[in-house]
Amino acid sequence: MVFNSLSFALFFAVVLAIHHLPISWRLRKLNLLGASYLFYMAWNPPFVLLLWMSTAVDWLAARKIASHSRKSRRRLWLGVSLAVNLGLLAVFKYGEFLVSNVVALMGGVGIDYAPAAPDIILPLGISFYTFQTLSYSLDVYRGQERPAGSFLDYALYVTFFPQLVAGPIVRSGVFLPQVESSRRADSQQWTIGLTLLSLGLFQKIVLADDLLAPSAEALFDGSAPPDVYSAWVGTLAFSGQIFCDFAGYSSCALGAASCLGFRIPVNFRSPYAAVGFSDFWRRWHVSLSSWLRDYLYISMGGNRAGLARTYMNLMMTMLVGGLWHGASWTFVAWGGLHGLYLTAERWLRGRVGGLSERWMVQLPVGLFTFAVVSVTWVFFRAPDFTRAFQVVAALFGDTAEEATRQLPANALDPLAVLTIVAGLVTVHWLQREDSVLERFAVPWWMESVGIAAIWLAIAMTPGTDRAFIYFQF
């Protein structure tokens, strides 16, 4: 089920109504758990079995880890958790990719190997819930968290529908304490929740799908070589689209959770106002980048084993981060490029020290960061390397003779792209440290008018049935 659908509105209204019935907290938690399974099964019912498997395995593994004092036993159970979760990912997400690479590899050495196509359906949200359950087992293994006392609480932590299929990836230490005692949203949480839901839907339906996607699709889904203008407009359109799509989903997730009385961590902190690439990754998809930092980068030694090893760890982390997004070498290249940027930045910082805090330095470096991040999105969005290199070449003025305009044939789209992206970057800069609303102390009635305008814009956008981009991960 997607947030930008009327069936979700109906579903959420029923869930909220039951959540506010005068019944026990246990029954209300069962309502949330049942609703979460229903939310998931609305996509493809049989795949809920995988979710149950991941839930059950990590529940058992964490308890076993906590109950054993011998390191080897604890390691064994952690290994079970890793094997099952990563195994699920390997089969369902990377199975076809692995087979196609083996075939290509064998073809490269002259062996004609042609296995049957695996034809595997990618289960919705598998990358998110496996990483979430893994973080639970790893935290228990490291002694940072105790295993959950109740299976119901734990299952709700894994399955809680606002964040189930596209994050944020929530840590058990953040969520489990919240389910220990009864909760309903107070008036502030309701207001924040409804505002975040509205804002998220506006970002997704109006900005990402209606105004930005057409230009990005015209550039990346075409095959004719683009001219410089198309390359820039289409690339910037995707920079805006990916942010509005994913941050829109995260806002909806936070908003829905807030209406139910829960708090889940923010996933985006004005990423297009990042100054440098390490700053970008502290602001973009925070729940994933912190997961990769805590469970992969630090596990590999982080920056504790010398400079060369630090660079290698950074690179490995970003390559895995790239691959997490999709079973394709273009995602690996995207991750690899970010790994390079982070490595270069660390090297540079070691040579010239930190940046000045003066805006005359921060702003140009921030805009440079945004430009490089945008160009790097090309590898994330392009269907293959051929198209990616075509677009990158055009971005730098190296266009083919037969290059043509690869944008929707209307006056609105390029203008909308440039306006929205400029607006996004400006808003991100204005709220680098705190929210625009807090910063400028907007009167309450102006907030109301703003929310009403957002609702009106959503109502006046017919919709195109586009799924959230991060559902495919």
Binding site: S7, L10, W190, L194, E447, S448, A452, P462
Partner: protein, 343 residues
């Protein structure tokens, strides 16, 4: 107090929103806009779910089905019948007919709009994406969303795509004026066209478009074409073997459109040979003077104001040919059931 302050933000927002919707709704209606639903794969899939209704008359084919037929017209001739509109504009109905043939649960009445070109292999798959979407993506939650959205859109002008923010902004940028749409999509997927509102594009004629289209098209020889037509005939046989009934209709075209149709697919060498071999009921508009009498403003479709009368004439003709002979009134609620099921 703080609690009240927070709630009043949402309450005032709600008030502003409802007020703005009411004002805009009144404004658009004053400008002559009417409600129109969003038509696409999901709306099509809602209709596809309905083909199993024993009262269903399923319509397959191209835009002529959407423009020329109306629910009222069908109801006039076959009381109690449920129109299921599976036609898709700008494409040919082969893939949808194949889908119905392969669906062992389907054994209903089908009316197919096909021109000779629709039998060509290159045209057979033009509606396949709708079938695939239905097979792979269609599920309950989408059905609920689409039904709700359609119900709302068929009542509120503000949800008409013609007054969508994007459309308004684009029109303002390019033409600096608001244009009333000449077509309205009804909730039953038929199109209500008002050709008097349609703007002529300078230098573009129907004849020129059709000529260009045929000049680029791959046109089979009559012998090869008949082999392709037999594939479609196979699907018709499958449906009829299960107790269904299929009528294939060549809808009217006129002027340059008809002349080019005839130049590239002369009726005697193409359509008539299929009609002779087919187990389906076949009807060519040239054999139905009552259908030829309708004005076709764009040489291919009737005006919305004529759709009910056109449907009535077509259905009367098909009834005369025996399309509904296995069907009879069921007596309850003006019902309409297959005779072999009503017992």
């Amino acid at each position: 107090m703080g609690r009240l302050v927070r709630w009043r933000v949402i309450l005032l927002a709600l008030l502003c929103f409802v007020g703005a919707v009411l004002v805009l709704e009144w404004l658009w209606r004053e400008f002559g806009f009417r409600p129109s639903v969003v038509d696409g794969m999901e709306r099509w899939a809602v209709e596809r779910d309905r083909v199993y209704d024993p009262r269903a008359v399923t319509l397959v084919g191209d835009s002529r089905m959407l423009f020329n037929l109306s629910r009222d017209g069908l109801e006039d001739v076959v009381p109690g019948a449920e129109m299921v509109q599976l036609a898709i504009g700008g494409s040919q109905g082969g893939a949808v007919l194949r889908d119905l043939a392969r669906d062992s649960e389907f054994a209903g009445v089908v009316v197919v709009s096909l021109r000779a070109e629709g039998f060509e292999p290159g045209q057979l798959e033009t509606q396949q994406s709708y079938v695939e979407h239905y097979d792979r993506e269609w599920r309950l939650e989408k059905w609920i969303s689409r039904r709700l959205r359609t119900e709302l859109a068929s009542r509120l002008v503000i949800l008409n795509p013609a007054v969508a923010l994007r459309k308004l902004a684009d029109e303002w940028l390019t033409e600096r004026e608001l244009t009333r749409p000449w077509i309205v999509f009804r909730a039953d997927r038929t199109i209500d066209a008002d050709f008097s509102l349609r703007r002529a594009v300078p230098g573009v004629s129907v004849g020129g478009i059709v000529r260009n289209h045929y000049e680029k098209a791959e046109i089979s020889t009559p012998e090869d074409w008949l082999i392709h037509a037999r594939r479609i005939e196979g699907w018709i046989d499958e449906i009829q073997a299960r107790g269904g009934r299929v009528a294939v209709v060549r809808f009217p075209t006129s002027g340059a459109y008809w002349r080019y149709d005839q130049r590239y697919y002369p009726r005697a060498k193409y359509w008539d040979r299929f009609a002779r071999e087919s187990s389906a009921l076949t009807l060519h508009f040239r054999d139905a003077p009552e259908l030829r009498r309708f004005e076709l403003p764009d040489r291919s479709h009737v005006n919305g104001s004529d759709a009910r009368a056109f449907t009535r004439k077509l259905m009367e003709r098909l009834r005369g040919l025996g399309l509904f002979e296995r069907w009879e009134p069921s007596g309850d609620a003006g019902g309409f059931q297959r005779a072999d099921q009503s017992a």
